[in-house]
Symmetry: C2
Subunit: 368 residues, 2 copies
């Protein structure tokens, strides 16, 4: 059994308070998952992530495949052990990075040939290979190999891209079912890896619907909505999520990939999205953008040079309890790496705090 998903309460608006039981961790949902690209949530030590209450983090298959290599990670007992993260993990399929980072891509029905952004070496990814790599990494949740349809895409392009993604989804699932027992922690930890399918279809409601229905027929452990937050206006993102959510089975987790801003993750969670991930809080932090209850702060601005208030007066994270805006500004001005660490800790605390409050508000009203 890969996962069990236990809804505790569902609101009229569709928002679900649930528990997602994964082999390495029971995750309280809705959940925001910090992105740990190359086996590290950039600039933050693992014990700090634990203190922040992160129950599941992402790893990027593309990055880890290139460096240090999935075979090396398999030999070392899988990604959890390699990076010393005992809680839950999810790996993406590598598809998104192949299409956004690599050079000289050549896509066929069979798969995609690309050159590494690191050293120009040539690689060929198929759905089967992506699954093999993800089994070697051994995250609790793996993702089907898909093509993230670009925005804008005309209907013919969206249809063709969807055709590819659906064919790849079936191949991913078949290969996964045959090989999932090969995960390095098989027999050591109860349970097995899960595989999620990814709904694509560009910005076409009927294609999105068709995509969801076909994936459900195949029977994945959970369902993701991909290809959003790729440049489209917010109301289109919302429209696509609204179209797909009611179709997805109530007893499986629903994951919207790559979102979003603080108000977005709250909005989607209240609509019934159970899982989200985004580089925004971590990447923005490294550029000095802090999310706070008073809005966004560009901490490098001169106005903060002698501001002795905490980054966010309403936040009780370890950064806001100890440091001032003036100090964070100084660290950034001076190019000190502690800047990325402290900014990231705060932004993650802010995002995880939002989800904590959303979860509380989705609980059933207490009986009197």
């Amino acid at each position: 059994m890969g996962l069990t998903f236990n809804p505790i309460h569902t609101t009229d608006a569709g928002g679900r308070r649930a528990q997602l039981r994964l082999p390495h961790q029971t995750v309280e949902t809705p959940v925001f998952m910090p992105v740990g690209t190359a086996g590290t949530v950039k600039a933050v030590p693992q014990d700090t992530l634990e203190s922040l209450g992160a129950e599941i983090i992402l790893g990027n298959t593309y990055h880890l495949y290139l460096r240090p290599g999935h075979e090396a990670i398999r030999r070392m007992g899988g990604l959890h052990r390699f990076i010393s993260w005992p809680r839950a993990m999810l790996t993406d399929s590598g598809g998104f990075q192949v299409f956004s980072l690599s050079e000289l891509r050549n896509v066929t029905d069979e798969g995609v040939r690309f050159r590494s952004h690191l050293d120009g070496s040539s690689h060929f990814f198929t759905p089967e290979h992506s699954v093999d790599v993800q089994i070697a990494l051994g995250a609790d949740i793996a993702m089907a190999f898909d093509e993230c349809t670009e925005y804008p895409a005309d209907r013919a392009r969206a249809e063709e891209s969807l055709r590819l993604t659906m064919a790849w989804a079936r191949r991913s699932l078949e290969h996964f079912r045959m090989h999932q027992h090969e995960v390095s922690w098989h027999g050591e930890i109860a349970g097995s890896q899960s595989l999620f399918g990814i709904v694509q279809g560009g910005m076409y409601r009927d294609l999105r619907k068709e995509s969801a229905e076909r994936l459900i027929e195949m029977g994945f452990d959970g369902y993701a909505i991909g290809g959003l937050s790729v440049g489209e206006p917010r109301d289109l993102t919302l429209e696509m999520i609204s179209e797909v959510l009611p179709i997805l089975p109530a007893g499986k987790p629903r994951y919207v990939m790559g979102v979003g801003y603080p108000d977005e993750i709250e909005q989607y969670a209240r609509m019934g999205v159970d899982m989200m991930d985004c580089v925004l809080p971590t990447r923005a932090a490294r550029h000095g953008l802090l999310f706070t209850s008073e809005g966004r702060l560009t901490i490098k601005n001169r106005q903060f040079a002698e501001d002795q208030g905490p980054p966010d007066p309403a936040c009780d994270c370890m950064v806001c309890r100890r440091y001032t805006r003036a100090y964070l500004r100084h660290l950034m001005q001076a190019g000190e790496s502690l800047s990325a660490t402290l900014n990231t800790i705060h932004n993650l605390a802010y995002y995880l705090g939002i989800m904590r409050r959303v979860r509380a508000s989705l609980e059933a009203p207490k009986a009197n």
Copy 2:
């Protein structure tokens, strides 16, 4: 009263186990002081430094004067408050960085004119100005403004340099005595800042002796030996320390600046040096050099690619308890900033661990 220095036990070899009471912290000596150049021990959060047992850290006057500026720090209540470090601090005089980092230096008896390495702006430092800046920063211990004699220096050059340093020491002390009550925490925290004089004299025993005797006449709160570890062979360093230590008053702390390797700090502590600082453990960490009970590790080496042992099997620091050599190598290979953080934490734990063991060995034998 700036400081009190209470020797608990002195060995036949001259090693002293003592307590150094400073306004912000009682420091167990001999002590190694991590260097926090620009208001941060690079890559390490303050709570981690506390967990490591660091009781006193350094700040660099030159760096903080240039950015964010000593007046801004004074307005914010001093360096302790600005960087949120409640324990003891020491600031250097800025002299060493003026001579090693800045451009277009012009030294006269009055002081030194230099250009900032950051923006080329022109600045003039005198002993009085260095003391003013250090009072604004408000560390527990300030240092007299000196000229660090380069190595090699012929006798005439060493004599001339010493003449300047002695004149500047007197001016530093006079100015400090007149203005030390201006420290921002005056009246809030019991005690006052202390000022240490710095013994120079190049590699000439008689100049070193003369330097120490003249500083003692002036009457500082503690005495440092500067101008060592500037390229000379180790036996010369040792010879200069051996010459000076017996002259220095037993009731005042003795500080050797800018040393050293793990075996050096242990050796000097056993000879009677109470305080040392060095960028070595922190700077080497950022370059992937780890100090361990098994010797030095260049963590980036291929041999560690799948080494699942801890960085140092004999170390129980938070890094060695959680992470493998393979993971630290990966972080460095991938250019991840967590690499600097984890490497630095281990190296500091290693240095502070050495001093902890040396302190224990300098205690009086337990009565049976």
